[in-house]
Amino acid sequence: MFGYYLELGLRSLRRNPLLTALMVMAIGFGVAASMITWSVFRAVSGNPIPQKSSQLFTALIDSRGPNNNNHGEPPQALNYTDATALVRAHKAVHQTLFYNVSLSVLPGGSDSLPFTADGYATNADFFSMFDAPFQYGSAWSASDDDRHAAVAVISHELNEQLFGGADSVGREVTLGMHTYRVVGVTAHWDPKPRFYDLFDGNEFGEPVQMYVPFTRAMDLQIDTAGNNNCGSLMDYGNGRDAWLHGECVWIPVWVELPTAADVERYRDFLTAYADEQQRAGRFHWAPNVRLRDVSNWLDFEHVVPAESRISLMVSLGFFAICLVNTIGLLLAKFMRRAPEIGVRRALGAPRRQIYGQFLIEAGTVGLAGGLLGLLLTAVGMLGVGLLFESDIARLAHLDLSLMATTLLVAIFATVLAAFYPAWRAAQVQPAWQLKSN
């Protein structure tokens, strides 16, 4: 019977084309709006490192005190003193620190123009902690950090640009007028949102192009290209050294803590560190420290743009209205065929058969709506790029799973909407219908 009902359903699509068109459009628009906004939301709210997100923590220390901190919260990164102290203490399995650098790159060949490349000055642990994949070579070693070595890891994209994609390990690059030896080339790596660098507002930024050792960058006095937040404590004195040892925060620090016991131990260590600073007279307040894991940090920093959440909710409301609309129209469509139902019932069809027939018919409407929805979703994806910044719009894309979801949601929702109209259809009294005709 399924095949027969399906055929009936398809045929009935053509019977009242106006009603059918209205329903198909309602479902199509509703499902498309929901799918487009959901795909953006899914992209911005995703977990960028699911396998480790509960083991990676950013460490924060209140170095400003209750009068200057942010409503009791420590600043969102560390100053040079605390960042280097934490990394030196080596109390976690892995620990990393980094800051943004923007360096000029001089490509080989006489007529190519220099360009800027953005990246991080960091340490060896960075790569293993954040699971950076390598195409060639590997990260530099901890001893390279200690030796302040002139080594660099470059991205797949920069490697394409500079070396035509060849294995460039051992070759030299000129970054900011200094030469570095390439030790590794990452595969394409662009976690979104870039959870580890929310401090610089880089969550949806362009992919990172290169990494150099933090110790080397400090020797070369490379300025931060990222955020430098001095709060209201600007008066640190003259020159770079005074700034370094002042209370400006500009270095995010992350630690890897695999077990709950590790987390507890590290929290105690942080508190003890702040306590020691208080006793030494640097902090005039009780220890105020935080350890936030990846999802906690993404939440705390409100990474999902309000726009994305609002549009998702508006679209879901929109879809709900489309479904209410569909219930009404299906009711009209089914009840118009009361005489036909009466005949079928009189000829012995049980209510179950009527249910089946009309739910399958609703399914065909849903399928048609889903196909329209798919088309509109594809068009909408192009539109998202026009409406929103490219960095976020780029994250939304139409893949197979989204296409399948669109169709399934459309069919499922329409069948759901058809329950009440189908029930009403099954309640039709055969005698009454036959009498009045």
Binding site: D235, G237, A242, R309
Partner: protein, 410 residues
Amino acid sequence: MQIKPILAAMRHHRAGTVLIALQIALTLAIVCNALFIIQQRMARVSRPSGVDESNLFVIQNFWADQSSPQRIDAQMRADLLALRELGSVQDVAPANSFPMRGSGWDNFIKTTPDQIRSTLDSAIYFTDDHTLATLGVSLIEGRNFTSSEVGSQTPPDPMLASEVIISKALAQTMFPQGSALGKTIYVSGGNRPSTVIGVTDTLQAHTVANWMNEYAYNAVLVPARLLTDRTFYLVRSRPGQLAAAMRDAPKALFAQSRMRIINRKDGVMSFAQVRKAAYGRDVGMAILMGIVSLVLLAITAAGIVGLTSFWVGQRRKQIGIRRALGATRHDILSYFLTENLLIGITGVAIGAVLALGINLWMVTQFEMARLSLAYVAIGVIALLLLGQGAVLAPAVRASNVPPVEATRSV
């Protein structure tokens, strides 16, 4: 108009009635909030920057050779001179940031050196004596910097700001009682005093982000060139020569020295582009909400047309009987219009409550403003009119049912 028979008839198609009312309620709730969001976003977008945007563009210049601050300073002065000589250029100024750029330097500003809590934030613009003329911002009080007052500094050093010019909004916040001119303020975060020598007309801060909303028009102009790896040149073209100036300026800079990087993508940006980038999210949101509202209204109207047409079809015989018993066409027409109005009023009543509820929730979630009742009122009227408009065609068809229908197929 007799309402009783209409209510009695409604009982016979309760489901359809409830569905239409529900749809109107939900549509009102969403459209009200969507319109409100549009209004809020457009209000943001239409805020003035205070600068002469139509003739202004900005060059983002990286020094490719990591040179010393002294060499950067010398090159900057040479660049500024070279740019000012161009025929298409009216004036040029160096900058660390500018209105709507999105990032830059902001400091807490104090009126006494020993103030502990920071309460007032302001953009810090590093400028020279050409900045005001370049931006097209006028002074409402005091004087401009002289060229001898303009120094240069590297970022970690304390700010050179013994004289500053401040924006109108900052002046009014700090000195609500009188003129800010000649007053001492503390702009460097520490206890170095700065004297206010001028107050500008409206001048927007460097970011339009929400956290800056309270301080959106606070700016302090500091007379110094900031020597960093990246320098901005603000360039004001002669009227109508923006395109030419945008073409000439980078060439003139490269003729000066090739050891610089001006990115192809965003190295040279007109202020129209700067504005578009700054408010992209707001405009996108407003357009999206506009599209959603329009489609939603269309779908609701279509739903009403569909269900009412069905009812008219169902009741052809009854309509025929009424006509045969002496009801005029007008009676039939107004029957359907009234029926729709009754359903509509129920729907908008529920919808208005829902709209306010959704808004209250958004206020707590997204720091949105309270929905003004005017939007609800506009929404109510719009949806009632939409309902009446949608029902018109089926109602006219109903009124055209001939009395003879009463005698058919009985």
